[in-house]
């Protein structure tokens, strides 16, 4: 019995370790390679550095210098911030407003409008580009930051509304109704009670949206294009793959720059991110 248990325990650890290895190795290879010179990259596999791991002569920052200053990734990093921060703020705020409206305000058509918004959550964005693009061109919005802020807000609203509704609809009824009886207007209740009480949910949604928008490729590809002045990191990296597909010293460093911020955000705020995902999948 105990031998059987021992074998089971060992195989449990082995399976878990195998998964961990497969999930880590690809990223590790990218990271190591981004610090190697082209001669080294093409002379031997990245795993050979482990034979002499602490020999710092084999590492270089040159690839990062190259992609940040010469390949425009520094500028793209700024663009990505200029795209994701405002988009995230706007969509979280509007999402909170509409979630509150649907959860607590009595008005005609509330239910049907809510289902309309929620039902659109899974619509493939491909369904929307063709009619919007000409309007965007006509309004001069394509290739501009305000254009993509609006697009991300519109596309993100079904999900932000859905996630925030799940939380805001569960705010204790007495709290809001007694404030209402005391004469507080819905606007005052929203700012004074609902927003402060929803900070945990708002931060989850904020992080969720931020990562989604930072990592977005498709929406930027359609509405911004790859002009260096506006292109986010995802577009610039994808362009490098197309144009410099064999320059692994550039591709690996560029990819890592594009991933750096999401990794930091994720590792430091993992709890909020996970909570957002779970709220979306289970509660709703």
């Amino acid at each position: 019995m105990s031998l059987k248990r021992l074998i089971l325990r060992i195989s449990l650890h082995l399976i878990v370790l195998a998964f961990t290895a497969v999930w880590m190795l690809p990223t590790l290879g990218l990271l190591v390679t981004s610090f190697r010179s082209p001669e080294n990259i093409f002379g031997s596999g990245w795993w050979t550095v482990f034979a002499d791991l602490f020999n710092v002569d084999q590492y270089t920052f040159e690839n990062y210098m190259q992609v940040i200053y010469k390949q425009g990734l520094g500028r793209s990093f700024y663009n990505s911030l200029a795209i994701s921060v405002p988009s995230t703020i706007i969509s979280t705020f509007i999402g909170a407003m509409v979630a509150f409206g649907f959860a607590w305000l009595k008005f005609a058509g509330r239910k049907i409008l809510f289902l309309l918004v929620i039902g659109l959550m899974v619509v493939p964005l491909q369904m929307t580009f063709i009619p919007i693009l000409p309007i965007y061109r006509w309004l001069g919005l394509s290739g501009t930051f305000p254009g993509i802020w609006l697009a991300h807000t519109g596309y993100g609203l079904p999900l932000t509304t859905y996630l925030l509704y799940a939380f805001i609809s569960k705010v204790p009824r007495d709290l809001l109704e007694s404030a209402s009886i005391d004469g507080a207007s819905p606007i005052k209740i929203f700012y004074g009670i609902v927003i402060p009480i929803s900070v945990p949910a708002l931060s989850s949604v904020f992080i969720f949206q931020f990562l989604w928008i930072w990592n977005d490729f498709l929406v930027a590809l359609i509405y911004l294009g790859a002009a260096p002045k506006v292109a986010p990191v995802t577009l610039t990296v994808a362009n490098l793959v197309t144009n410099r597909g064999q320059n692994w010293e550039l591709l690996t460093a560029a990819a890592f720059v594009s991933m750096a911020l999401p990794l930091v955000v994720f590792l430091s705020l993992q709890r909020h991110f996970v909570r957002g995902i779970i709220a979306g999948a289970i509660k709703g």
């Binding site: 409008l113 493939p124 063709i130 490729f217 990296v237």
Partner: protein
């Protein structure tokens, strides 16, 4: 419920409704209409030829689209089965080890980075060089070390390269499934599991008899989420192969019709196909939601 007038209600829900109408409702209707008109990049019907079902004929009979639909089917089945199975397996196994948290982070990290970044990572994993040069991709490095010939993982059609792309998707999304399954699993009352164990149930019986039945709803939700994600798969294919060597998928084909061939008619029809594929899941979601509202 708070009583209010329609102006205040409009203030709260109005901006969102306008955005949703402009970015989702209106374009969905227009795309459907546009799929019956000819090539070109205009939208409004007066400037266009009505072509009836020609675009639809293209969508379901051309060899490029049939290949793309076939690949989407392969993606959907393989990707969904593996993400859900791996996610469930990891959720249950990791509950039994002390270093659960660290491993969970490792598995979940790919969900936090862009699919473009993940595509670069895996393009390097699959890197292939002729047999007389040193291999720089880890898989071919392993192949050579084992005395085998290196393989062009992204070139060998039609199975190896498509599956190689699907692996990237599985690598990205397994963590998402795992996190949700893990939360659901930890919600199962411990007493229930302990009682079954005391009654002599082994882990296998425990899984089929108690864990699985209690998690069916979560599994359904996660599986449908995976299907929604995989049907419109785009970034990975666009970056890694752009559909070359028989790896085309529907969403990538739509992009090509739109931006390479300026054929908005065909592109619209392809987009509607994606919508039709997802419609059953949309209905499932709305019904689930209304049911929950009632209960």
């Amino acid at each position: 419920m708070l009583h209010t007038n329609r102006w205040i209600a409009g203030l709260f829900v109005g901006p969102a409704l306008i955005l949703v109408l402009f970015f989702l409702t209106y374009p969905i209707l227009m795309t459907i209409v546009r799929s019956f008109y000819g090539r070109g990049t205009q939208i409004f019907a007066s400037a266009l030829d009505f072509v009836g079902l020609a675009n639809w004929e293209y969508v379901f009979t051309s060899s490029t689209m049939i290949a793309a639909l076939r690949n989407n089917a392969l993606w959907t089945v393989t990707f969904t089965i593996f993400t859900v199975t791996f996610g469930l397996l990891l959720a249950i196994l990791l509950d039994r080890v002390r270093y659960e948290k660290v491993v969970k982070s490792v598995i979940f990290i790919p969900a936090a980075i862009s699919m473009v970044g993940a595509s670069v990572i895996w393009k390097f994993v699959y890197a292939y060089r002729p047999v007389d040069l040193p291999q720089i991709g880890v898989i071919n490095g392993l192949m050579v070390a084992l005395g085998k010939e290196p393989v062009g993982w992204l070139i060998e059609r039609p199975w190896i390269n498509n599956l190689a792309l699907i692996v990237v998707g599985i690598w990205i999304w397994t963590g998402f499934c795992m996190v949700i399954f893990s939360a659901a699993y930890k919600n199962i009352p411990r007493d229930l599991i302990d009682a079954a164990r005391t009654d002599g149930a082994n882990e296998w019986q425990l899984f089929w008899g108690i864990i699985l039945p209690l998690m069916t709803t979560t599994i359904a939700v996660v599986a449908t989420t995976m299907i929604v994600q995989v049907l419109k798969i785009f970034d990975i294919v666009f970056v890694m192969t752009n559909g070359a060597y028989d790896t085309e998928v529907v969403a990538n084909r739509m992009y090509k019709e739109m931006f390479n061939f300026y054929n908005y008619g065909r592109a619209s029809a392809i987009a509607v196909v994606l919508l039709l594929l997802i419609t059953p899941i949309m209905i499932f979601n709305i019904r689930r939601f209304t049911r929950q509202e009632v209960s």
